[in-house]
Amino acid sequence: MSEDQLKKEDTIPFYPDHVKTEFYVVLGVLAVVLIIAIIGLINPVGVGEPADPLNTPAHVKPEWYFLSLYQILKKIPPMVLGIEGKVLGVVIPIILVGIILLWPFLDTKPDKSRKVYWIRMALAFATLVIIIALTIWGEVS
């Protein structure tokens, strides 16, 4: 539904009303940024040891947002159904991302009621729990 079909009393003008709300949101984010800046002065991000290509550290871990993928790759058995596990661990995430990318073309039925919200919420929640669990597992192991 486009906004042209909305009644006038159901809308607010973009400027200045909506811009004002957005401005307050930006101010809030800036306050957080300021807090981060002060924390950065007290407790800098810092750097580790300088890179040494000849010396592999014992525990190599990627950033937290790649940790779940890395954990899948690490824990997958070497051979699954006659396919090499490593290949499977790379291909499955790529396929999943492809499915997410093309999701609107797979789920084309228009929503009928609010009930689908809860179904999708449960789906998203389950996915999120799996990813967070894998991340924590990767972090502690």
């Binding site: 006038k8 930006v26 991000v45 550290p57 890395y70 291909v91 999701w103």
Partner: protein, 337 residues
């Protein structure tokens, strides 16, 4: 007929006076130190003749003070011998006062000559631009576009926060790029330099580091919101696709930015990460060589990741963001059930 708003003018005058007072207080004590203060504290060479005379005669002859150096009034007014910031402050103060004076003269003369009330400068500027580009009508249309009331709930701001964090990342990234050197010899040292020597360098780096994480979190939160509310359905399919591509680009930002400090963690995380890319069937080796520029992570990899991180990925992100916003603008925000 109101020629000027007394309230605003008074505020401006007060601000100028306050700024002037601040400058005066902070620079005045040192303004005279060159002639008297510092000379008195400096050890003057002992005058042996006077010392000997003093032991003999009751009224010693005091040596005359050294001749004053050539006075330079303009240097004094500009504060050229008083530190780095004083000249700038004085330029701003005196230049601002001069501009205010010139403006007053122009305004008086203009009202006198044209015999009509004065039009404020911003109105003049707007008329000048509009006369040439006819921009005010489309601009009003853009700005007055109605936003549905349901779109003011808190969870509709997640995407906007992501976009704003991207701006924060851009600004802090540019500030870091002023000092960062993308070579294996100098990268680590330049990060250390930023952390320890540059004013507020550790703050800037902390903002860049933590806002990168926050951007990914906000991106995913926005995506979940859109998914749950079914906002990706017809006619907004391409908006979802561009959004997922933006999330992938954000992750690429994270991956390429992680190598730049060139420490052990960065080096080996990139080694492992590009190894994973190398496990893709059929094109794995190509992906690996594309990422590493060779079979090993080296200085070439660092250069490539730097170029990706500061030029290519930001440009791609900007392009997709533009498309994303344009589509939202055209189609409006999806109406929840």
């Amino acid at each position: 007929m109101r020629f000027f708003s007394l309230k605003r003018l008074g505020l401006v005058v007060l601000l100028v006076i306050a700024f002037g007072l601040f400058l005066f207080i902070t620079t005045h004590a040192r303004a005279f130190s060159a002639s008297s203060g510092e000379n008195s504290s400096a050890v003057s060479p002992p005058n042996w003749a006077v010392a000997e005379l003093g032991s003999l005669a009751p009224n010693p002859v005091v040596t005359p003070p050294p001749p004053k150096t050539e006075p330079c009034l303009s240097c004094h007014i500009l504060g050229q011998n008083k530190g780095l910031w004083t000249p700038l402050g004085r330029w701003i103060l005196f230049g601002g006062l001069g501009l205010v004076f010139a403006f007053g003269v122009y305004r008086s003369a203009s009202t006198w000559v044209t015999r009509s009330p004065w039009k404020p400068l911003n109105k003049r500027a707007a008329e000048w631009v509009d006369d040439r580009y006819q921009i005010s009508e489309p601009l009003t249309k853009i700005l007055k576009k109605p936003v549905p009331k349901y779109a003011t709930a808190w969870f509709y701001c997640l995407g906007g926060i992501t976009a704003f964090l991207f701006v924060v990342q851009g600004i802090t990234g540019i500030l870091l790029a002023f000092y960062y050197k993308p070579t294996p010899e100098a990268a680590y040292a330049s990060i250390l330099f930023i952390e320890t020597q540059v004013n507020f360098g550790s703050s800037i780096r902390a903002i860049h580091h933590w806002c990168a994480n926050g951007m990914i979190v906000m991106c995913v939160a926005h995506m979940i919101r859109v998914f749950v509310m079914g906002a990706y359905k017809r006619p907004r399919e391409l908006n979802w696709v561009s959004g997922v591509l933006l999330l992938i680009l954000t992750l690429v930002f994270g991956f390429t930015g992680y190598l730049l400090p060139w420490d052990q963690r960065a080096f080996w995380a990139t080694t492992v990460g590009s190894e994973i890319a190398g496990a893709i069937p059929a094109i794995g080796d190509l992906a690996l060589i594309f990422l590493r520029v060779g079979w090993n992570v080296s200085g070439e990899t660092l250069s490539r990741f730097y170029a990706l991180h500061v030029i290519i990925v930001p440009l791609a992100t900007l392009a997709f963001m533009f498309a994303h916003f344009l589509m939202i603008r055209k189609q409006g925000i999806a109406k929840p059930l």
